[in-house]
Subunit: 348 residues, 4 copies
């Protein structure tokens, strides 16, 4: 049996790891779950909904990394914090799945520019989007778990980019639930400010932009980093989920493509992917993926101007974070990729 | 392996049965799922979120009861419809779990009075609240699955009633999510009518009242049906969950009871009950039981007037319907009672 | 023309005073609006929605009370703060409307007990519920504006109490929107904690309890402070509004009273009250009073146990605070009582 | 004094007309309000929140147009119905404000193509967007009140189009509240389908597209109908409001334009427009315009790819329908343009 530890266990991603691992047949133990602030306290103080799920004796610890000997460690730590933790675990030979942005860029300078942080140094990490990089992930000891917005955005148009039928400029207009802002209370998450409201934030410089762009560029044949990704997230009045509306324009020579042909491109591209589901637009909902590791994709319509619209729906905390992290663990540990995360959405 | 069928599979309870059974290790097959209106259609037409969960080839059927040979049949049929279906299955020796109100009353006249329907005749049914009637359920071939409100209301004060420390008059002020109104659209469920609103309906004559009352009376020593239950449900602006606020008055001789003693009464009463969790009030939330089979209980405070307040939280579609139905199936089939329903709430 | 000042203008009650005063025909000027923290800043920084409403040059000030010479001052200050501000204004002969709890109790010891504060000394204040105390308000220079919960609770059963037809024990089960918690962000108001959730807080010792009780006692003929009020508020997932469900029991001699007779009691009691509307239950909604100064009352049903249920709906920030404050100002200044607050709810 | 009638008064736009007209100082009477279905019933049956607002004796009528002699008639009738009603009123010399799409197109063939209806014949209507067409409106007897989405979309980028600094392709990604779907209940508006969800509908062929496009083309110097508008609305989980995110690309020669210069273009364009407010992004909210006739505009940021993003926020039922209709009435009747509609948003 396999033991895991979680670094930084008080947030929503830590909570979701525990929720999903509770029913994972290959995990018999959470060796350690760390928190400086809550050290010594039961995890039920912070995550009371996990009562009676096997964690009633599990406490947060403020522990030295030296003492961690799990097979797998999840770093549910913020950007900037992970890169001071991961190297030590990595060198011990522990398989590490990092949920922060610290190891997502092959090119450190892009990271440093967009995150405005000095990086501690590149490691040999795989970008943990299994649908695009499964073979690399299998061999990796460090997984950079993708950002929530990039997961939905990349999967939404990867088949179009690979097929080369859309122009270089793409716009992702994403709508995220409030859980994406984390567990800390702020004016941003103050109920009267969110409820009956919806609005964009980081209109032009969200750091997930280059993450999306570099992944799309990998799909372009003979890429010269042509893709020009514009990305704007909106905070919407629900708790979980990201709906991404991808606005793309067909290249002139593909203007007469039929919707069926577009759907076929998607179905072929994702034919072996359990966690990507292709839908008619009417059938997609955020509740359909709520609590689930699925990424649902729909749309595929072209208007008079040659604009091709595609939408994707994910749960930001599952496929956009902890579920995908477990999917990556399953891959690197040789488990069934679906183990512990094969749930449909909690709809309605 | 065990096969099950579902009569009436297009509603929310049918949907939830499918969602939970998809990961139930003892169920290998949905033999039949019926719908007159959707006969011949894939269940994915109505329940698209179940795609890739093992049901992609499952279709609704409009089938004669003669052709049903499952080990267990769930009747997810409305009040009044069940009693025209259940007898035939029951006589064939099939174990039946009926989610309607048709077999919940030992006394048919109470049913006929409150449901304003003529009953087709009493059968030997067990009231399927395992926390109170596990031994009876084990031996039963027909389970009357409790109503959603009664489940939360009865469990919230059963220990007090059994202990005999509260007066006969109790008031349940319940707040339910909109999924309790079913899948059909109506002015009641029209978003602009529900959102930013909350209000009582059936202020005084909800048919769950006598169901609660007769179960509480069973707990009274030498009962002469003394309990006087007043119950008022409110429609609240969320989708899942029932929060029941039980207002009771301590008998004069117990006015000096301490909160700790009350908590102890509950912990003792439910000490073997996995699906009942006792909490401090601050720790309870409807999201903590969302999608889960737990009934969380908190409160236990007494005010200057001797009013003792207790609250319970359940997911109306799970512990209040389909989850409890599977719990009952597990009991009558001799499975682990937690099999397939041992999930915590989807919080946040 | 009349000039007003607002002490403590950065919260929701300050915001609502400005919103309503902007269209009040008798008020030509906000002389001062104070805030220590935002002193010098435009009120639009905190209340951007008031742009172009006549306040574009209005700034918060941190000003000595000596310099305030308005005809009317609204104290939108918290409990405990008001009593250090009001006396000085009161002695200058300024008419003061205090929105805190500091002057709501004739009996200072009750205040000190429930608010756990030492009071600076009683003043001659009128309890500002016009429907019950209009004549006293007319002559007062200091108005203690009622609490939000007491407003809805008292109005909901005042006619029953005055008529003497209900027992002494009454239970108010109230459901409030999140704006009642104020503008400050906290775990309590963190969107993921509120959304899809609903739960009681201060189950038994909310300080609005004695405020309700003493007002109801005033309505009892030859009262010996008999009323035994139990009050429990719930935080519900909407922004504005309080729905109060009053559970009362009819005295034995009135058990056969018809619903029509009860409605008649209410219509008679409130026949001259513009801001109280009597409804059938189906017609009431929180949106129907949203942004409005109305208190809508419905219910009036009696169950088998003699329980009589009444509900009231108000906007906690309007009839429950700033709207009622302006209603009080209208009365003490001799304006038309409806001036500036005669709006229906923003429904849907 | 002026009398008005409303044709089709049971929907949300009828309701909002009544709400706003109740406090309009120039309107002393609703002469007639029509409804075939509710004929003879009090308007309070359908709009109970209007009780005590001056309409307690107003009933719906099923009346011949011959009998209508108001100064102004609002047609709150659906697309297709208006064109069978308006001509008769228009010929009698009554000033008509039509809230449907029937008279919004100078070019009937565009209407017929997008609405898939045969038109009864063009009349001399002014497109009722006062910020662009005030002088024309002043002289008109028939006003085609703009669509809700077009109002927010057109106003959001009109200054950019007139200035000629953006490319021809523009994308409007709009998010609307559920009240836009009207009062009738349907699966689309069923609470469990909307709540915790958000998704596009009419991805590519919404009929508001040509309405936006033709208005933008009017702003282009020497236009050859160059603008290529792509518009996709999303249904979002709130009741009121439309947030439109306009994605445009700067022409190459304007790539170095500063944000301040863009803001200046807007402030100049709208300098005399009371109902358009320019904001920093952080200051905009849908609650800030809820119940209000303001259109708030923000954004103005340019990203690495030359994409310029602008957002607008309106209340779909006010500036997007009934408020704008009253604004138009004020203009054609020579009233103060702000009369009866000068309210800020109901925030929070």
């Amino acid at each position: 049996m396999t033991s895991v530890s979680i670094i930084g266990g008080t947030g929503y991603t830590g909570s979701e790891l525990l929720r999903l691992l509770a029913n994972h047949s290959k995990i018999d133990e959470i060796e350690h779950i760390t928190s400086r602030k809550e050290s010594g306290n039961s995890i039920l103080k912070i995550h009371p909904h996990l009562k009676s799920m096997g964690y009633d004796n599990l406490c947060f610890e403020d522990i030295s990394l030296d003492n961690i000997n799990s097979d797998v460690v999840f770093c549910a730590t913020p950007h900037g914090a992970s890169m001071s933790i991961v190297p030590q675990l990595y060198e011990k030979g522990i398989k590490v799945i990092d949920l922060s942005g610290d190891y997502r860029f092959e090119d450190i300078s892009t990271y440093e520019e967009w995150y405005n942080l000095k990086h501690t140094g590149k490691l040999n990490a795989a970008y943990g989007l299994p649908e695009l990089h499964r073979e690399t992930i299998k061999k990796a000891n460090l997984i950079a778990n993708p950002g929530c917005f990039p997961t939905g955005a990349i999967l939404s148009i990867a088949p179009l980019v690979e097929k080369g039928i859309i122009e270089e400029r793409v716009i992702f207009d994403s709508k995220t639930g409030v859980s994406g802002a984390g567990v800390e209370a702020s004016q941003t998450t103050h109920y009267p400010n969110v409820n009956e409201n919806l609005k964009p934030y980081k209109l032009t410089n969200h750091r997930h932009t280059p993450e999306i762009e570099k992944e799309l560029n990998k799909l372009v044949e003979n890429s010269k980093n042509n893709m020009k990704v514009s990305f704007t997230p909106h905070l919407a009045p629900f708790t979980r989920g990201i709906l991404t509306t991808a606005h793309t324009y067909l290249k002139e020579e593909y203007l007469s493509i039929a919707k069926d042909e577009i759907v076929e491109i998607y179905e072929k591209f994702y034919k072996n992917e359990h966690f990507v589901r292709i839908y008619d637009n009417d059938m997609v909902s955020l509740t359909g993926v709520r609590g689930s590791n699925f990424c649902d994709i729909a749309g595929f319509e072209v208007d008079r101007n040659g604009r091709l619209i595609v939408i994707s729906a994910i749960d930001n905390l599952v496929k956009g974070a902890s579920g995908q992290a477990i999917q990556n663990m399953n891959i690197i540990m040789g488990f069934d990729e679906k183990e512990g995360i094969n749930y449909c959405g909690l709809k309605p």
